[in-house]
């Protein structure tokens, strides 16, 4: 079946809904999503959205900009960060005007709390910049955007899974998607496509990410010949519930919670004397791994304690109600009385599909755009997060760049006609489905995925080195061979979620390869990429972005300079 739209948005989390909402003013738009929009993982964001409103104390977008760049270990493009931090302020007011139920200050303004790496006066001390709605900020953003989409009659295709990107004559001509309800393959012929498919945390065993986060948009872009930028940078959030990886917001530490080792010591005093527990996530996660390695994990095991016992009942009940509930439900513990077992959890891909500051996807190191193709949010890399994202900035990113991408796509669809659909536009998508269904081997997709997640956690997570990454590369080749032997039992066409999981696993395998090869290539330590064999940052050789391409002989690289405008790279101390 072929549909014709001016523009198609793929993904219906924060970035996709923001884009759908803004693009719908410019033409006929479809938003396709493998989930019902309100199931998207934006809804799991907890602590807040960063914007220098200054509702409690003095704050400026320039301070936010500096913190974001320093947090990124100077890999973020500074022009993009400036836009992010300037537009954050108007974006938060826009959300409020759309009805987002922010928590309030006593004088009725939007309440703000401290968050990791956010400071006043260029690093002097923490500042209250994270605008929040209890610890459900992402839920409120997702609901508010969905409500606005209903009000503005945005057109959704729910439970359609992205299979392929149609590129013809150097332009994007649409996407191919698999309808879960019927098993039919649909071609969406469009002048412009905006990818907002989110992250790929499911390649790791312990993750805060939903099952759905399998990097579909990134994998499809890669297979269509586009590069992926900075994939070696993957953020591990310090406080995941032990073993399960469920996120316990940094807002807990923003409200005063403390990380402790087996002796009860507040170990962050040794790693970040000024910001302590509110140092950026890469530093806190590394500190936790070190504590565990040096035998100071709780009972000698691979976890530490998040201590909230000294916080008032009001903070637990009013400011952190959801995480209090999670600890009770999943650990059977009362966080008012006992500390909570936590370990770093795979959380966020800083890298993704490279774009410029108007959301246009670029195909090379000199920023040549691929006409009609846009990306925003976690699947994209502008890059505003560089080597390490600050907490609250992902929510700013999805909204600011979701809107900017939509605006430039909006102009594009006015000025351009549809690129002609190539013959057999859905050929690659159909071939993939047939190949997977025809497999008659003995492997189960779940076993291959289990191995992938365990091996990635062990060899390519918080600390890496040439040896572990090299072994991981060999493992991935082995996992690909096993993947070729998987058998899908479900032969049906209606809601064949077993087939869907196999498609998703293939995406994860492709992206794990890019992550590992990019990590192997980057011989330095910067932000979330920490090489034990190259422990120092190396600005002379590596102050540049990685662009990874899929070629017949494996992954090929190009490199792109970092845009530096206001802040020269300095040593990063907190």
């Amino acid at each position: 079946m072929v549909h014709k739209y001016d523009a198609v948005v793929v993904g219906a989390g924060g970035a996709g809904l923001m884009a759908g909402l803004n693009l719908s003013a410019h033409g006929r738009v479809a938003v396709i999503s493998k989930l019902y929009p309100t199931r998207s993982h934006t809804g799991a964001a907890q602590g807040g959205i960063g914007a220098a409103l200054g509702n409690h104390e003095e704050d400026h977008w320039e301070w936010h900009m500096f913190d974001t760049i320093k947090g990124s270990d100077y890999l973020a493009d500074q022009d993009a960060v400036e836009i992010l931090c300037r537009e954050a302020v108007e974006t938060v007011y826009e959300l409020e005007h759309w009805g987002l139920p922010f928590s309030r200050t006593p004088d009725g303004r939007i309440a703000q709390r401290p968050f990791g790496g956010h400071t006043r006066e260029f690093g002097k001390g923490p500042v209250r910049r994270a605008c929040y709605a209890a610890d459900r900020t992402g839920h409120m953003i997702l609901q508010t955007l969905f409500q606005q989409c209903i009000k503005n009659q945005v057109h959704f295709f729910n439970e359609y899974h992205l299979l392929d990107l149609i590129v013809t004559d150097g332009r994007c001509a649409g996407v191919v998607a698999y309808c879960l309800a019927t098993g039919e393959i649909h071609t969406f012929h469009a002048k412009a496509v905006l990818d907002a498919t989110g992250g790929c945390g499911r390649m790791f065993r312990v993750t805060s990410n939903a099952h759905a986060l399998t990097g579909d948009g990134m994998a499809v872009a890669l297979r269509a010949g586009l590069p992926l930028e900075d994939m070696e940078f993957f953020q591990f959030h310090p406080t995941g519930i032990y073993k399960m990886g469920i996120l316990l917001s940094e807002a807990a530490r923003g409200e005063g919670a403390i990380l402790r080792n087996r002796t009860g010591e507040r170990f962050m005093e040794r790693y970040a004397p000024t910001l302590l527990d509110l140092a950026p996530r890469d530093m806190v996660s590394r500190a936790m791994y070190r504590e565990i390695r040096e035998g100071r994990g709780i009972d000698g095991k691979n976890y530490l304690h998040l201590d909230l016992t000294h916080l008032s009942a009001e903070v637990h009940d009013k400011k952190l109600p959801d995480i209090t509930d999670f600890v009770r439900t999943y650990m059977g513990l009362e966080p008012k009385k006992v500390p909570v077992p936590v370990q770093p959890t795979a959380h966020y891909a800083m890298g993704g599909i490279p774009t410029d500051t108007d959301g246009r996807v670029i195909r090379d190191e000199v920023n040549t755009p691929l006409g009609g193709y846009y990306a925003a949010g976690e699947s994209a890399c502008v890059s505003v997060h560089g080597a390490n994202r600050l907490g609250t900035n992902s929510l700013v990113d999805i909204l600011v760049y979701g809107r900017r991408g939509a605006r430039s796509a909006g102009s594009y669809i006015k000025e351009n006609d549809w690129a002609p659909l190539p013959p057999h536009a859905d050929g690659r998508g159909r071939a993939q489905i047939s190949r997977l269904l025809a497999g008659g081997g003995k492997e189960r997709a779940a076993q291959v995925r289990d191995s992938l997640q365990d091996e990635m956690m062990e060899k390519a997570s918080v600390f890496r080195e040439a040896k572990s990454l090299g072994t991981m590369k060999e493992k991935l080749a082995e996992l690909r061979q096993r993947f070729a032997q998987i058998k899908i039992e479900d032969r049906g066409v209606k809601y064949n979620t077993e087939l869907l999981e196999a498609i998703e696993l293939e995406n994860l395998l492709d992206l794990a390869e890019v992550l590992v090869e990019s990590a192997l290539g980057r011989q330095e330590s910067r932000g979330a990429h920490s090489r034990e064999d190259f422990p120092k940052r190396d600005d002379i050789n590596w102050l540049k972005h990685t662009l990874a391409y899929k070629a017949d002989k494996g992954i090929q690289f190009k490199f792109k300079p970092v845009t530096i405008t206001k802040f020269q790279p300095m040593e990063r101390k907190y």
Binding site: M140, F326, A446, G492
Partner: protein
């Protein structure tokens, strides 16, 4: 621990009627029911079909009838369910395949009560002011994740599928009691109609079913009261 999942199965492409499938699962007492369902799908029978995504109770994908009560499969632990666990799709929605139901009518009703902020006054340059007390008045109903557990546990909904149902009322309440909203009258008009709030017989099933602990019956009561005061 060893548990047996007794799952109500139905594949529209094969089965003329639903049947019960039994699956032994070796699991930790602290595993979520979703972990056990995943185990069955991944290692025993790949055709088992259900929705799931976040796996920690915030996305609303996996509401189902577990040991006779609606809840999220990712928000209940095996140690609280006994050794033989029955799992069925939510009642009152059309079953598409196994535990996966048709949610279209549910979202259609949700849209009916205008679930978005309605304002006519000009927007200020910065945020609208709202006191902590005014914000608190609708706090409870902002938590809804649209999972459908409340509506499909409601006998009034089972008896009359045209009833808008608790989830729709919860999402209307969220705006009716928001001091910034100016669409109160239009929403009350919709909820005061024959298929609106008066179908609620205060049975409280919805309150028990809600995985977000929203006091739904109280919210419905507040909407009823708003309608009564409006009339007199």
């Amino acid at each position: 621990m060893k548990v047996t999942l007794k799952i109500k199965r139905f594949n529209p492409e094969k089965d003329s009627e639903p049947y019960w499938g039994e699956y032994p699962v070796e699991a930790e007492p602290t595993d979520r029911l979703l972990n056990a369902l995943n185990y069955v799908k991944w290692y025993i029978d790949g055709t088992l079909t259900y929705r799931r995504s976040c796996a920690h109770g915030v996305c609303g994908s996996d509401a189902m009838l577990i040991n006779g009560a609606n809840t999220l499969a990712c928000k209940v632990l095996l140690q609280n369910l006994g050794s033989k666990i029955t799992v069925e799709p939510m009642r009152g929605f059309r079953v598409i395949k196994d535990l996966l139901v048709d949610m279209e009518a549910f979202f259609e009703k949700y849209r009916k009560a205008k679930p978005y902020l309605i304002t006519h006054s000009p927007e200020p340059e910065k945020e609208r002011l709202q006191s902590i007390e005014d914000r608190e008045a609708f706090e409870d109903t902002t938590k809804c994740i649209l999972c459908g557990a409340c509506t499909t546990s409601c006998p009034s909904f089972w008896a009359n599928e045209d009833y808008v149902g608790p989830a729709t009322i919860v999402n209307a309440h969220r705006f009716i009691f928001d001091s910034r909203d100016e669409g109160r009258e239009e929403r009350l008009e919709i909820l005061g109609a024959a298929d609106g709030v008066w179908r609620c017989r205060t049975i409280f099933n919805c309150v028990e079913a809600c995985p977000r602990d929203i006091n739904i019956t109280r919210a419905i009561g507040e909407v009823k009261k708003a309608l009564l005061f409006r009339r007199f």
